[in-house]
């Protein structure tokens, strides 16, 4: 079978600098999945974009061909030579792309439904009703509980994972011949991820669709890929059929990569326990409801219960990890923990800057207290691209927190910025760049660096490593652990990656539909999960081993509607069972 898409000797560079994509070749056959893995910033995204000819304006394709097979038997066409107009008939219709940063990649002024349906409007001749049906069906398949609501929402009303799924739906709904998926599941919890991956597989089977899957997650590669291309520093290090590469990596970099992949340890590691609990942050009875804007003024308002009665605390010097379904309210929780979002009345969010100090309620801060608090508490954002001012150089963005709090002079700030960049594995020469000139993973690291600039005592990390390849992730996690231990930092750590959580967390809370369904120390939670949803999560965790595919049955059961759960755990509308303590420090939302 001939290849559907062949990239030959692609070299891309910026300005006069050395190429960032250097002589890259790969190809993908119809119905096949090609996984592109590699270091963050190694040129994966650029290579994919080159195939669609949507490179940043500054990028120059210095050489290379992108051959795309025409309909059966026709000679392949070189996409690099086609006119813009001809490309319009390739893009979206025959090749579609899932972008890495879903927030920025969706227009903020148009409803999700509108943006997704557009693909059908452009390329398929079908009635309005049919379009709607198809889009809603696709929404359902990517795991939206309430497709109608998503259809009528604006991007900023969705959680990170929901936006990402919307992007996926947008790419898939036109049933193209080739989907280029750039880190399509970074923001998804493992169950949803499993579901989405399942969807991709289904579609592949149904329509013979080819997939280029850019990912950092070797587990996903193991579950999905037919062949693998490993990239590092703009070059292909190794490529070949997935089983071979994964089971027997030949190149040094690949081996490093495999070695760095985190896994949930097979046996519980006992993390020292203290009896007395010193909470730096405590959230009590915290709820948040949103009202949607998209609905027309004469229809009743749509209300979203993003968070419902959260109760937990972060201990000083410890890490509370929050895992949970996409859209379950993790980010909202985190934002409220930093006072960036106002909780519904009745909540109390207490912050103790020092042990035994008088707690301050974040809901009732005055300006001075707020400034003092903001100096101590920082956040690593889930969607780093949109939290960086596009018109501010990285240098200025990094120095800004210190400027705000009046710390140091310019050169000190500069040095600190350079230092932070080094910590997160970036070159200080990147300081003069603007945010758009980075890769997704690099931006995520910028976000971490910025959060560290002030030397905070409390750090909220919202999916801080989701876009990082395993080796860089390893490096960042080590860094986080190190400064936590050195500076007695406390983390509220949101992640979908259970392996990461297992490694870093002192306590884990599992969220679903705005509620904590199970909470406890990792050694209990991971080895003795009580709640079906927790079980599903663990089962859905992909592992970098071809021979251990995800158990979709458990996943389906736990991830299914709460009403399908066993009696003891079942939710009933907005009513849910209470959180009951089942073991020391282990709470589960169930009827006893």
């Amino acid at each position: 079978m001939t290849a559907l898409l062949t990239v030959e000797n692609l070299t891309i560079g910026f300005d006069n600098a050395a190429p960032v994509v250097d002589d890259v070749s790969f190809s993908v056959k119809p119905g096949e999945t090609l996984a592109l893995v590699g270091e963050s910033g190694s040129g994966k995204t650029l290579s994919c974009r080159a195939a669609l000819r949507i490179l940043p304006a500054a990028a120059q394709v210095r050489s290379g061909k992108v051959l795309f097979a025409g309909p059966e038997g026709a000679t392949p066409i070189d996409l690099m030579q086609r006119s813009e107009r001809q490309m319009c008939r390739v893009r979206g219709e025959r090749i579609s792309m899932i972008f890495q940063e879903p927030m920025r990649s969706l227009s903020p002024l148009h409803k999700i439904g509108n943006q997704v349906t557009e693909v059908l409007r452009l390329h398929k001749h079908m009635g309005k009703g049919e379009q709607l049906k198809r889009v809603l069906a696709m929404f359902e398949r990517v795991g939206f509980k309430d497709p109608e609501r998503v259809y009528n929402s604006y991007p900023f009303e969705l959680s990170g994972g929901m936006r990402q799924r919307a992007m996926i739906a947008m790419a898939m709904v036109g049933r193209p011949e080739l989907v280029i998926a750039d880190e399509p599941t970074t923001a998804l919890d493992v169950t949803t991820q499993a579901q989405v991956l399942g969807l991709i597989k289904d579609l592949q089977q149904e329509y013979g669709m080819a997939v280029i899957l850019v990912t950092h997650d070797l587990g996903v590669v193991a579950n999905m890929a037919d062949s693998v291309v490993v990239m590092n520093r703009g070059r292909v290090m190794e490529s070949g059929p997935a089983p071979l590469v994964l089971s027997d990596p030949k190149h040094g970099y690949t081996r490093d990569l495999m070695a760095a992949a985190p896994e949930i340890p097979a046996t519980p590691v006992d993390k020292g326990k203290e009896t007395e609990r010193d909470y730096i942050l405590e959230m009590r009875d915290v709820s948040k409801t949103f009202t949607l804007k998209g609905s027309s003024p004469w229809k009743p308002k749509t209300v979203v219960h993003a968070v419902r009665g959260i109760e937990f605390g972060v201990e000083r010097g410890k890490t509370l990890a929050v895992v949970g379904e996409s859209g379950s309210g993790k980010t909202t929780c985190a934002r409220m923990a930093l006072g960036a979002e106002r909780a519904d009345p009745g909540a109390s969010i207490l912050f103790r800057s020092e042990k035994g100090a008088e707690p301050v309620d974040l809901q009732k801060l005055n300006n001075v207290e707020r400034l003092a608090f903001q100096r101590k508490a920082q956040m690593v954002f889930q969607d780093p691209y949109s939290t960086l001012n596009p018109r501010m150089r990285v240098k200025d963005a990094l120095m800004e927190p210190m400027e705000i709090h009046g710390i140091g002079n310019t050169s000190e700030r500069m040095d600190r910025a350079a230092e932070m960049l080094r910590w997160v594995g970036l070159s200080q020469n990147m300081l003069t760049r603007y945010p758009h000139a980075f890769s997704g993973g690099q931006r995520q690291r910028l976000s971490i660096a910025r959060a560290l600039m002030l030397g905070p005592t409390f750090l909220v990390c919202d999916e801080p490593t989701s876009a990082l390849d395993v080796s860089v992730q390893e490096q960042v996690l080590t860094l986080l652990e190190e400064i936590r231990d050195r500076l007695n930092l406390s983390y509220l750590f949101i992640s979908h990656d259970l392996a990461v959580v297992a490694r870093i967390a002192d306590e884990v809370a599992v969220m679903r539909s705005g509620l904590v369904v199970e909470q406890g120390p990792p050694d209990q939670l991971f080895y003795n999960p009580q709640h079906p949803y927790t079980k599903a999560l663990i089962a859905a965790q992909p592992e970098p081993d071809i021979n251990r595919p995800i158990n979709l049955r458990i996943v389906a059961q736990g991830a299914g509607e709460p009403s399908t759960w066993p009696d003891a755990f079942r939710f009933d509308g907005l009513d849910a069972p209470p959180l009951t303590e089942t073991g020391p420090g282990h709470k589960v939302r169930c009827h006893v």
Partner: protein, 342 residues
């Protein structure tokens, strides 16, 4: 419901604002020394005619111009009855034009339509020219089309309207046989609308539209271009491209909507400019719009006439801002009604 509540609230604010504005307008019109009738008397004397003076004095009492200013205002607004049971604005009686010796309402009617016609043509011209050109200039920035449109736009902007009009009239008449001034061939005046009249009006509209429109078009084009260029680099534009949208359709649907924000904010001025936008231009071009009426009314201090026109424009301004606020909220869902969350 939020929008509805907002609109109702805004409506009442508007009424209050209008009241404030009416006071200020009344004061401002009365700022220049003298008043219509004294000026009129002076004029009569200056031309050696003393026999009209008695009549002017007669009008003075007839229209309470001998009362203190605040009373005049109250009477004009209709809060206080005037002599002979004189009614005011709120009773729907707009007063009397001394200059034209007619009720104000009769006077402005026709001119208003003409004004709306002229300015509508200008607005259409602006949008028809500036929108596409602005988009093209942004999409093809730094090409000849960008430079040419900037050049022509600024040429129009940098030439005083009257000079521009004179040049266009003179050479337009000479080489293209275009009419000089006016809004229609005089022979159609007062005739019912017909195809011929339509044609005449359209031909007469060419140069005024151009003269009034160029500056607006240039302004809109350049700003639109700048805003669009900002948006073009945003990732969501790439997404749209990746969907296979044609460049033009993509531009119009996505970045244009963002770039349009400042213009929607300014739509408030569109309505009033439909009436007052081209006062001076109309005067110099000899268009039978409200402009010359307003200017002469102001110059001769034809109190009620100018006050009415100004009030009307003010009302339109207020309605315009209201509309623009609502449109803004519709255009950008992120814009909420109300304050910043603390």
């Amino acid at each position: 419901m939020a929008i509805l509540r907002f609109a109702i609230f805004r409506f009442f604010t508007m009424l209050a604002t209008l009241l404030v504005v009416s006071v200020m307008i009344f004061i401002i019109i009365n700022l220049p020394p003298g008043d219509y009738l004294s000026n009129q008397i002076n004029e009569l004397r200056a031309t050696g005619q003393s026999n009209g003076i008695a009549k002017a004095e007669f009008l003075r009492t007839e229209y309470s111009l001998d009362q203190p200013l605040w009373k005049q205002y109250m009477i004009w607004m209709g809060f206080m009855p005037g002599p002979h049971g004189f009614l005011g604005i709120i009773q729907g009686e707009f007063g009397w034009s001394f200059e034209f010796d007619k009720p104000v309402a009769d006077l402005v009617g026709g001119a208003l339509w003409m004004t709306v016609l002229v300015n509508l043509a200008a607005v259409l011209f602006i949008y028809a020219i500036a929108l596409p050109l602005g988009v093209i200039a942004a999409a093809r920035s730094k090409t000849w089309i960008d430079y040419t449109s900037a050049f022509v736009g600024y040429l129009g902007l940098a030439t005083p309207n009257f000079l521009l009009a004179l040049i266009l009239f003179y050479y337009g008449n000479r080489y293209l046989n275009l009419p000089i001034g006016g809004l229609m061939d005089p022979k159609f005046e007062g005739e019912p609308m017909s195809f011929e009249k339509m044609k005449s009006v359209l031909i007469h509209l060419i140069i005024p539209t151009f003269v009034i429109g160029t500056s607006g078009a240039a302004a809109m084009m350049q700003r639109l271009r700048a805003n669009l260029l900002d948006e073009l680099g945003k990732p969501y534009v790439e997404t749209a491209r990746a969907k296979g949208m044609r460049e033009s359709a993509m531009l119009v649907k996505y970045p244009l909507r963002v770039a349009f924000n400042p213009f929607v904010a300014d739509i408030g001025t569109l309505l009033p400019s439909l009436v007052s936008g081209s006062v001076l231009v109309s005067v110099v071009l000899g268009l039978q719009t409200i402009g010359p009426v307003l200017l002469t009314a102001l110059k001769s201090q034809d109190l009620f006439l100018s006050a009415f026109v100004l009030m009307f424009v003010a009302l339109l301004t207020l309605i315009g801002t209201l509309v623009s606020d609502i449109l803004l909220a519709l255009l950008d869902p992120r814009i909420r009604f109300g304050g910043r969350e603390k």
